[in-house]
């Protein structure tokens, strides 16, 4: 049966802006950037871990109607789309300070939990992202 998760997907409203954020600010790396004409297949991954990729997909025609794409865009900007991401980090507070200095919008400051320290942020479009420093 299944033995790994290789690709996940979230919707972004602009793929260039998504690159600036996910690579330029969060420090992920581009795993694939393929112009297929009808669509740009753009995936990013944690450095050194290309085995698990996140597809940064722009909603739009012809995959979905313009009307549906607009509904998806509105849900993303309301923070109501699923597809959120949780990363792990060795040092939650240090990562938080680094990203804060880069202008990342946080929804929650680093907080101690039973399972470790984590905090929450948003991407430029409204998607939820978290990162956790698990308890050792």
């Amino acid at each position: 049966m299944f033995n790994a998760i290789t690709q996940s997907q979230i919707y972004v409203l602009d793929q260039d802006e998504a690159l600036d954020f996910y690579v330029g600010k969060l420090g992920l790396e581009v795993t694939a950037d393929v112009d297929m004409g009808f669509m740009r297949w753009l995936t990013v991954s944690v450095p050194g871990h290309p085995e698990r990729q996140i597809l940064l997909e722009k909603p739009g025609a012809p995959a979905m109607s313009e009307e549906t794409a607009q509904q998806v865009r509105e849900l993303v900007t309301k923070g109501a789309m699923g597809g959120w991401l949780i990363f792990t980090t060795d040092d939650c507070r240090k990562t938080y300070e680094t990203l804060l200095a880069r202008g990342v919008e946080f929804t929650e400051e680093p907080t101690d939990r039973p399972y470790g320290t984590d905090c929450g942020l948003r991407d430029p479009f409204g998607n939820r992202i978290r990162f956790t420093q698990p308890k050792s």
Partner: protein
């Protein structure tokens, strides 16, 4: 028009995130309107159109959700919890809590059980509905 809607949604979400982040502070409409870069007159109406409830109600639910967490996971007194989450008086806290949760803070504490799942998930899903 649609791009304008997206921009409005994002601004309202920024204000809502500020409430999520700083729920215990006295967040008033002028402060939130500034975060959203809209006029005060516009803010409450637009927030409600975007998320289906007023900013005031959202903030109350947010505070009550945090109170539920503290009642469930800690031994802090009900009065401590009341001030910790940003309510100004125990009377208002108990009334609002009961109004939203359907039980008093004390009854809730007796009946609640904690769950071992990521806290962000519990926070979103145990947030009482309007």
């Amino acid at each position: 028009m649609s791009r304008a809607m997206e921009e409005t949604n994002r601004r309202m979400l920024r204000a809502r995130d500020a409430m999520d982040r700083a729920y215990a502070q006295p967040l008033d409409v002028p402060a939130l309107a500034r975060i959203a870069h809209v006029s005060e007159a516009h803010f409450t109406r637009t927030f409600r159109a975007t998320f289906g409830e007023t900013p005031h109600r959202y903030l109350q639910r947010r505070r009550v959700e945090r109170a539920m967490f503290l009642l469930r996971e800690t031994d802090r007194s009900v009065t401590d919890v009341c001030f910790e989450v940003g309510f100004g008086s125990p009377g208002t806290f108990s009334r609002t809590f009961r109004d939203i949760v359907g039980r008093s803070p004390r009854t809730y504490r007796k009946e609640a059980v904690s769950a071992r799942v990521p806290t962000c998930f519990t926070m979103a899903w145990t947030r009482p509905s309007s």
